[in-house]
């Protein structure tokens, strides 16, 4: 008697991986989902901390997709392991700091480890030839399969008919004829397929699923590495790059200025790790200082902070500075004048 075959599907939360999993489920294969959290995933709720984004749905799309499909989802923390992918990508970066090809190889490799440990048979991804300029090209497909170690246990149901038959197809675990031959950047075939499956609601992230594809985020990451003269980072660093206004008046320190109350509340969680300041004579933003500012630098930082508060036109404001050990002191500063900050300070 044939035992039911089992597959793990990489679920990003977008439409393609949802359709890929659904296509295989329709053939009677037991499918579960896996989602990797690198620290750079847009799927995180960073936007939820901003007041202006409160109206946006806060759902995690990977979880939501799993629930729509009726499958389990395993969310795996790969923050530490992902560092080597980002810091030194063998295949280089894309338009920004996105190491898409190395990232895909890494994730498929992690999925391959997972199926070995959990007695599953093969891996499903939602890749489509020609969909993405770096990682989803005809020539990258065999590289991902080979360098991840998944080899022919990697099935791409949406474009399988354009590729050589994989083990699940050759062994008859899935019927190749019921797989697809989608190519290119058009979303029409996927939308038609979604309609056919009765899937009316699905995420369509305009900027992809990773902050590293964002040029503004990438600029802040590069600035961080340059300032520290090292490409290493911690999760707190990459989380803080997602919030606030970042201003670096000198190479050895920068200000992270909350743009609104929600961000300020989130940033207060880092009070013990960073020197911070807030205006006490007028309403103003909460600010973290990253780096090693001198006593003189603190005056400069305070005057910059003051220009973002209600006291920006005052002759002088009171600024409370809190050190990492919790000690507090208040200094008086004149808000930094001028129409604009020097452009090179703004990251």
């Amino acid at each position: 008697m044939n035992h039911p075959r089992k597959a793990i599907a990489l679920i990003s939360g977008g439409l393609d991986s949802m359709l890929a999993a659904k296509t295989v489920m329709e053939q009677g294969v037991h499918v579960e989902g896996i989602n990797f959290f690198t620290g750079f995933c847009v799927e995180g709720h960073t936007h939820a901390i901003r007041e202006k984004d409160k109206s946006k749905a806060k759902r995690n799309n990977a979880l939501w997709v799993a629930e729509q499909l009726g499958i389990k989802l395993h969310i795996v923390d790969v923050i530490e392991e992902y560092k080597k992918v980002l810091i030194n990508p063998k295949h280089g970066y894309g338009a920004n700091m996105n190491p898409c090809l190395d990232c895909k190889i890494f994730m498929v490799n992690k999925a391959k480890q997972w199926i070995s440990e959990n007695d599953f048979d093969f891996i499903i991804t939602g890749e489509v030839i020609g969909q993405r300029p770096m990682s989803q090209r005809k020539w990258t497909m065999p590289i991902i399969a080979e360098q991840s170690g998944a080899d022919d246990r990697l099935l791409r149901p949406l474009c399988a008919k354009n590729l050589a038959p994989t083990l699940p197809e050759r062994e008859g675990w899935v019927d190749r004829e019921k797989l697809h031959s989608i190519t290119g950047r058009s979303r029409k075939p996927q939308m038609a397929m979604a309609k056919q499956f009765g899937l009316n609601d699905y995420a369509q992230p305009a900027g992809g699923c990773c902050f590293l594809t964002d040029k503004f985020y990438s600029a802040k990451l590069v600035d961080l590495w340059k300032a520290r003269q090292s490409k290493d980072y911690e999760l707190d660093d990459v989380m803080l790059l997602k919030v606030g206004r970042h201003i670096r008046p000198k190479p050895h320190f920068k200000l992270i200025i909350a743009r609104e109350e929600g961000e300020g509340r989130f940033m207060q969680g880092y009070k013990r790790d960073y020197i911070n300041m807030v205006c006490t004579s007028h309403t103003g933003p909460f600010v973290l200082l990253d780096g090693t500012p001198s006593a003189e630098d603190l005056y400069l930082a305070a005057s910059i902070t003051a220009r973002y508060g209600q006291g920006r036109h005052a002759e002088q404001v009171d600024m409370m500075i809190t050190e990492k050990d919790g000690s507090e002191r208040t200094i008086q500063v004149k808000p930094l004048a001028g129409e604009k900050l020097p452009e090179e300070w703004v990251i």
Partner: protein, 84 residues
Amino acid sequence: MTREVLNVRCLLCPLPVIRTQDKVKQLQPGDQLEVICTDPGVMQDIPAWCRINGHKVLETNSADHEYVVVLEVGGLDKGLTSHG
């Protein structure tokens, strides 16, 4: 039956879900876990994670920018399944 508390304040989703997932692996069916968070997204994500993995949400509440989800660990393989 034991009841444990998981503090995931200041973490943004999906980390509270991941920490919950890791903690639940150490518990037994019937045990309860109180998860305390500051990301409002957990009010949607942890219940969703519970539904697909066969755990039961006993209580959710929020006050003063903190969000609490209390769940009861389900039995093994009680979650959703796609067996065709």
